[in-house]
């Protein structure tokens, strides 16, 4: 993930110069890259660095407001909210990464097949995607988790399913317009098999717009996974996860203990915000015309 911007720059004409130019012209993107690095670092090293055990309860120290000892206060059973928020980064990030990776792979394969060979495969795939999109997506995810069983893996599968249409359609369009292109036909004539032409020559062209989609999607996937665990699906207490922490904190908000819900919610928001900024920034690098 971290070498994404570099890969991006190689694909764009102008390369690194263009990347530097865009970053200088748009410092917000630079900040987004910095925040992204921070999030990834806290996902990797967070559990080793936090001051308290995220699961250790301490009844005598419950519901303390934020202080120097407990930066984000303590929750109703005396756990340190700061430690829990930081530790939760790994779970939230890996859930959404896994879901986005799954839908990236499945969507790429389905979209490539439909876009390259067309015909009835294309029609069937489009019908299936239309049907998925006919559901309000969060509601479909709820239904899938309820049907498959209430586990973290199923949250990942559900989030992946509702994201597949976006990738499949993007890849299908990108592959379809290059199916008859000169370079594809030349590769075909020099004896490459269909699959090789598709995978090595045509599909790589779809990667830059896919990267933008991945970044925008990551934020949405985190929101989705956290929303599902907010309503009690997947992650079970006492696991530290942002959605479930907000849900637990919500019971105390009407009596004024705001820190239990606000900090995990704020972290979730910052993560999503970072991915959205990153997606916008990547789009400026990849395709400056689409800037809105």
């Amino acid at each position: 993930m971290t070498d994404m911007p570099l890969k991006q720059s190689r694909k764009t004409s102008g390369g690194v110069d263009h990347l530097i130019y865009v970053l200088r012209a748009n410092p917000v993107t630079l900040i987004a890259f910095g925040m992204f690095a921070l999030i990834v670092l806290s996902a990797i090293f967070g559990p080793a660095l936090v001051p308290y055990d995220p699961l250790e309860t301490n009844a005598s120290n419950a519901l303390q407001a934020p202080s120097w000892d407990h930066w984000f206060g303590t929750d109703n059973v005396g756990r340190d909210v700061f430690s829990r928020v930081i530790v939760a980064t790994r779970l939230d990030l890996s859930m959404s990464l896994a879901a986005v990776a799954l839908s990236f792979v499945v969507g790429s394969v389905l979209g490539s097949i439909a876009g390259y060979w067309g015909g009835w495969l294309d029609i069937v795939l489009n019908r299936i995607l239309d049907t998925i999109m006919a559901f309000p997506l969060f509601v479909l995810a709820m239904g899938i988790v309820a049907a498959l069983g209430n586990t973290i893996e199923n949250i990942i599968y559900a989030t992946a399913v509702i994201n597949v249409p976006f990738y499949a359609r993007l890849v299908r369009a990108e592959v379809n317009i290059r199916r008859e292109a000169g370079f594809a036909q030349a590769a075909k004539l020099s004896g490459n098999s269909d699959i090789r032409v598709l995978a090595m020559h045509i599909f790589p062209n779809a990667l830059p717009p896919m990267m933008v989609q991945v970044s925008l999607n990551l934020g949405w996937a985190i929101l989705n996974a956290a929303g599902l665990s907010f309503i009690g699906l997947g992650v079970r207490p006492p696991t530290a996860e942002w959605g479930i922490m907000v849900a637990e904190g919500a019971n105390f908000i009407v009596s004024g203990e705001w820190w239990m819900a606000v900090f995990p919610g704020l972290w979730l928001m910052i993560a999503v915000f970072t991915f959205n900024l990153l997606g916008d920034g990547l789009r400026d690098i990849v395709d400056p015309r689409k800037r809105t």
Binding site: T131, P136, V139, G232
Partner: protein, 364 residues
């Protein structure tokens, strides 16, 4: 396609034909075609919900027979539920039940799921529609202003709103609003449902409390219901604001830079006429398209907002059902939401033909 382009050609050549009956016919045809197009989608939706009900963890028969059931009674339940029949046959039985409006029985409430959903649907619709009207009322003017004054503070405000808006978890904004306006400032009512218990529910006419109370002329109840509605509606509106504002701004910019606007300006038309008579009407189409996507988000976010504000709609019904593993209720909810969304998309597409007469003729 061909008949459509011929009709539009005729339309261009003989503008006066508009007063005759001919344009009404292709438009009607286009509407019928669009309605027919939603039939395969409905079939697909029903098929997926069927598969979801049959994909229950473990053996559904054992689940419905209860914890204390032995082999014989599980087999009995299996026969009673038709689970011993082939899957295809089960599907047709399921569709037959659906056509009779039978979504199964909820384990927790003991009522028919369809009945439960019908009772709670108005609450959800009232919330969602209020929120969408609110967000359109803010987002569309914001987008127009941002597009007409690029680089001004309105433009920057629009950009901030758009980026921040899509990053806000709905459940989190709801909780923050409760903390600020209920706990700190004390100006909002307790986040406990549609109406404070000191008021009586208005007589059931539409199920929308605001409309029902207004029909009764009971303005005290009306304002009570409105007060309860404000915070959940704002929460949901904040969430749907961003895509609408973004799309309005972008499509307004495209429209304003097109040739017909230059021509209109060159012809000396007033600024207002150019902006609202020509640019905005053309910019409206992509905005209406986005509304379909926004509806999808809003119906999903609705579940979260209902949980935060204890709003007695179908979303919180589904959440309660999930907690006690009441599968029939959850699947009924998913199906109902999907059908609602199909209908909404249909309405949006039909709205197209009203906004842009050209759309009615293309058979897409």
């Amino acid at each position: 396609m061909s008949s459509g382009s011929i009709a539009s050609l005729m339309f261009a050549l003989w503008p006066r034909a508009k007063t005759l009956s001919s344009p009404a016919y292709p438009r009607l045809r286009a509407i019928a075609l669009r309605v027919a197009q939603s039939i395969p989608v409905v079939i697909g939706v029903v098929l997926i919900s069927f598969l979801l009900t049959r994909a229950l963890p473990g053996d559904p028969a054992a689940y419905f027979a209860g914890a204390a059931a032995d082999e014989a009674s599980i087999a009995e339940v299996r026969t009673a539920l038709g689970l011993d029949k082939p899957l295809i046959q089960q599907f047709f039985i399921y569709v037959g039940d659906l056509l009779e409006g039978d979504l199964g029985r909820s384990l927790s409430s003991g009522q028919a799921v369809a009945q439960d959903l019908a009772k709670r649907l108005p609450a959800s619709l009232e919330l969602t529609l209020t929120a969408l009207i609110l967000s359109c009322a803010i987002a569309i003017p914001l987008g127009i202003l941002a597009a007409t004054r690029p680089g001004s503070w309105v433009d920057h405000l629009c950009r901030v709103v758009v980026t921040a808006g899509v990053s806000l978890p709905t459940f989190f904004t709801g909780i923050v609003l409760i903390y600020v306006f209920y706990y700190l400032l004390g100006i909002a009512p307790a986040p406990l449902g549609r109406l404070d218990f000191i008021y009586l529910d208005p007589d059931h006419v539409t199920g929308f409390y605001l409309i029902d109370a207004a029909l009764m002329g009971d303005w005290e109840t009306w304002s009570g219901a409105a007060k309860q509605l404000v915070m959940p509606a704002i929460t949901l509106a904040l969430f749907t604001l961003a895509p609408i504002a973004r799309m309005t701004r972008a499509s307004m910019l495209t429209a304003l830079s097109s040739d017909f606007i230059r021509t209109a300006r060159a012809a000396g038309l007033s600024n207002g006429k150019v902006l609202y008579g020509y640019a905005f009407r053309n910019a409206l189409l992509p905005v209406v398209t986005t509304l379909g996507m926004v509806f999808s988000f809003a119906l999903g976010a609705n579940v979260l907002v209902e949980k935060v504000f204890a709003w007695p709609g179908i979303g919180s019904y589904a959440v309660e059902a999930l907690v006690v593993s009441d599968y029939a209720a959850v699947q009924g909810f998913v199906l109902a939401m999907a059908l609602l969304f199909v209908v909404l998309n249909l309405v949006i597409d039909l709205l197209y033909t009203a906004i842009d007469p050209r759309i009615g003729f293309s058979s897409k």
